[in-house]
């Protein structure tokens, strides 16, 4: 009789009848609730992510358009306070993270409102200008049109240099699309233009979005809640795998400006007013710029500093994933490496038995699970290999 009842229950109700999440709670000796061990769960999720991130070429110079759906579906309040508020907040985080990880790339924002697509900001490299423009225009109304957005983005992305990777990230709240023509033609046009389209849905899975992503080589995911949405959007910040035929390899001329001397006075080319000291001088035309990376306003030379390039080098020289240590192999070695090599935390659990650990396949040093995650997600150096 349970099976028949399940048919009438929603998915969220089934988590209570079938999964009984309260049974996994435990009490300690004094009757207080013990925190649920999330560490092992977190680590197994991380390892699943790592297995899929093989050593493949990535597109480092990206031109990304973010398409935000401002139809009336975006004002729904199933995400608190409303879908569009959640989208705006996380797009801001995403833009900052995107420019942090891809300093040489550029972003533009397109909105769909009342069935028409508008370009909100031109493609550019300054995070503040995009975020400020977005926060001012968040009113939702009308229908959503996927075809109009794709046509607009296709027109803009055809003008970018050939060495750049073209990408579109669509944040879609609606469950329908009102198109003036045949959207399949538009999808084929995007495919010919080598644009990689990805969609994050906030409502439910739609066939047309899935088809679009499959045809163009992007990813399609639907957010379950706000934290899941944040996770999904931030997955697009690191460079995606590059399809080799998509971008022509080219030498790009760039300048490495020196910092202007303290106390020097010059007219800044971005603010059009005189400023004292603390700026960068373009090596070609000697105009002053305020911050890097940027394009010189006078001569158009891309200005960067070497740390901006160095920020992407870890994609070119990734470190090997660590192997899990199984307890049978542990016995001969557990006396030798009792502590994590990175942080010196004990690898033995309270009963003095070997706890979970990982080992680097190259230097054979042992690390704890937290160091494993930190090393592979943030540091990108193996302390053991660098100490040899």
């Amino acid at each position: 009789e349970d099976d028949e009842d399940d048919v009438d229950l929603d998915a969220w109700e089934r988590t209570y009848t079938d999964e009984r999440s309260w049974e996994s709670l435990q009490e300690d000796e004094s009757g207080m609730l013990r925190p649920i061990d999330n560490q092992a769960l977190y680590h197994s999720q991380y390892r699943r992510r790592l297995r899929t991130a093989a050593r493949i070429q990535k597109g480092l110079i990206r031109y990304l358009y973010i398409v935000i759906d401002l139809s009336r579906a975006a004002s729904e309040m199933d995400f608190r306070p409303s879908r569009i508020a959640v989208i705006a907040k996380h797009v801001e985080t995403f833009i900052r993270e995107f420019f942090y990880q891809n300093p040489l790339s550029q972003v533009g924002i397109v909105t769909i409102k009342d069935g028409v697509a508008h370009c909100l900001t031109d493609i550019g490299g300054s995070p503040e200008s995009h975020i400020n423009a977005l926060m001012k225009k968040l009113e939702c109304s009308g229908d959503s049109s996927l075809q109009n957005a794709l046509d607009l983005v296709d027109g803009y992305l055809n003008q970018i240099p050939s060495y750049g990777h073209r990408e579109v990230l669509i944040l879609y709240s609606a469950l329908s699309t009102c198109d003036p023509g045949d959207i399949m033609d538009t999808i084929q046009k995007c495919r010919k233009s080598k644009i990689r389209c990805s969609v994050i849905g906030l409502a439910a899975e739609m066939f047309i979005c899935k088809h679009l992503c499959q045809e163009t080589g992007g990813t399609y995911s639907v957010a379950l809640d706000e934290s899941h949405f944040k996770e999904l959007i931030l997955e697009h910040a690191p460079p995606p795998p590059a399809i080799a035929e998509f971008a022509v390899a080219n030498l790009i001329k760039m300048g490495f400006p020196q910092r202007a001397a303290e106390g020097s006075i010059s007219i800044c080319s971005c603010h059009k007013e005189a400023k004292v000291g603390a700026g960068y001088t373009c090596p070609r035309c000697k105009a002053r710029a305020c911050e890097l990376p940027t394009e010189c306003c006078v001569c158009g030379l891309t200005l960067v500093s070497s740390p901006h390039l160095a920020r992407s080098y870890h994609h070119l020289f990734p470190i090997a994933p660590f192997d899990e240590v199984t307890s049978s192999l542990n016995n001969p070695n557990c006396k030798l490496q009792r502590n994590c090599f990175g942080c010196q935390q004990s690898l033995l659990d309270p009963g003095n038995k070997p706890g979970p650990a990982v080992v680097c396949p190259k230097c054979k040093r042992y690390f704890c699970l937290d160091c494993d995650i930190y090393i592979h997600e943030s540091l990108h150096n193996c302390p053991g290999c660098d100490s040899l």
Partner: protein, 296 residues
Amino acid sequence: MASAPSKLYADDVSLVVVLLDTNPFFWSSSSLSFSQFLSHVLAFLNAILTLNQLNQVVVIATGYNSCDYVFDSSSDLNRSFENGRMPVMCSSLLQKLEEFLITDEQLSKEEPEGKIKPSLFSGSLSMALCYIQRVFRSGALHPHPRILCLQGSLDGPEQYVAIMNAIFSAQRSSVPIDSCYIGSQNSAFLQQASYITGGVHHKPQNLDGLFQYLMTIFATDLHSRSFIHLPKPVGVDFRASCFCHKNTIDMGYICSVCLSIFCKHHKKCSTCGSVFGQAQSEAASASDKKRKTPET
């Protein structure tokens, strides 16, 4: 991203992770002897521990064949004073340091004569960052961490990528890297590290007074630094070096696939093998010219 704010600890509690350069190639030719250097440093570490009861000090030795932890003030063994003369801290640090130096030398492989090896700065920096991450994980109550590098050896260019990775990770976690360069020339890596992470870099002019430099510049906790006049970064050079000649250039060409820097126009990228102007036909495999450990 940032550490949890420590609401119950006062603002001026610090954790200082000291990276000590023990490279014999450097110390054999330095005007300051290693034992004099150690006496300055030990007095400085003691002073930090007396500035605040909750301060912590961790010392990692940077050798030329290996790196290892030699002291941790928060471990139980280092609590009490042995007799009135020398605190347990000094004797245990010196003992572990001596053991480390012996082990480090034993790891030497056959090298051609006259080749000066750099110290493994990227290794000890990575270990320091892992330790600091562990401190962040320990809860809301933790001291403000920073890293102090006492380096004299020359920069090893093969460590460039690893050091930059560590610097960016420290920047993300808001961990300043202070550096005191005690060698004779200049270290671009240390200057960049301190500049990017918001730490202090200084090269003392008179090494006999090293203790004074350490106390006045590097002993200040992070909160008080806004009230104190510390040496400002003077002209950190962020220009890049071209991969072909290693010259510093202010205008160059970047390969759009692997971001290698060249000073002249080439037909083919020497790092990733991409031919310029044509669509690439297969995925390139990056060579390991810049990485210290070769990829297998």
